[in-house]
């Protein structure tokens, strides 16, 4: 029972962190802040899903953990690219 309570507490903490990050997403002020927060949300999601898997005794979401890792990386890269040079994919490497 205590175990589950610990899990729930962790989940709540994670939720709070996500909310905190959402606050940052909303608040900004710069795009970079938002992307950063989004990245953090992705990471928090990974953690929450992990905790959740424990709570539900399921392996079903392990794939998701990795996938979120991948996608949050790809997404962050894309965002960063966008804010940095205003375009996402280069036609040709001018450099």
């Amino acid at each position: 029972m205590t175990f589950e309570i610990i899990m729930i507490v962790s989940l709540c903490l994670l939720t709070l962190s996500i909310l905190a990050n959402i606050y940052r997403v909303v608040k900004g002020p710069s795009s970079a802040d938002r992307i950063q927060a989004l990245d953090a949300i992705g990471i928090n999601l990974i953690a929450s899903i992990a905790v959740f898997s424990v709570l539900l005794h399921t392996h079903a979401f392990f794939d998701l953990i990795l996938l979120i890792g991948i996608l949050s990386f790809v997404g962050t890269v894309a965002f960063a690219r966008f804010t940095e040079r205003g375009m996402v994919i280069k036609q040709k490497d001018e450099g």
Partner: protein
């Protein structure tokens, strides 16, 4: 200042391999675990997109000389094709078959035509996703002319 993509590019090289492996895993595993053609395909597409992000289109194109639209069409064709095979056997369209076989290396493996169908799905998804992203990126220069 010229953008210095060394970090990104070297990490990308590693991660892309991971992603590819992972997508193949997702794809093959789909029948029994979460995953399947669609997700496998999309994560493959994500890997390709990551390549595009880290490098430039032409460089990637050198290595992937595929018309992704045709790939997508091919995927759909495969999917329809599996449907037709069922018909040839006199069963309804899209009947899937599965059987457990002992293969030399893999041991007892389940062989299912659903996998071929799923391959079609995966190809279609890869093809479409990448071609969408590419056409937007490429199309722009044409458009402005």
């Amino acid at each position: 200042m010229k953008p210095n993509d060394v970090i990104l590019q070297s990490v990308t090289k590693v991660t892309v391999i991971i992603i590819f492996t992972f997508s193949v895993y997702l794809f093959l595993n789909g029948h029994h675990h979460p995953g399947g053609g669609f997700i496998g395909g999309l994560s493959t597409a994500a890997a390709i997109v990551l390549l595009f992000l880290a490098f430039d289109i032409e460089k990637v194109r050198e290595n992937f000389q595929i018309d992704f639209k045709k790939l997508a069409a091919l995927g759909v064709l495969i999917a329809i094709g599996t449907g037709f095979t069922g018909m040839l056997a006199g069963d309804p369209f899209l009947t899937q078959y599965f059987n457990d076989k002992n293969l030399p290396i893999f041991g007892k493996t389940e062989l299912a035509t659903a996998l071929i169908f799923d391959t079609g799905v995966a190809l279609a998804v890869i093809g479409t996703a990448v071609s969408i992203i590419l056409s937007i990126s490429e199309g722009d220069s044409l458009w402005k002319r």
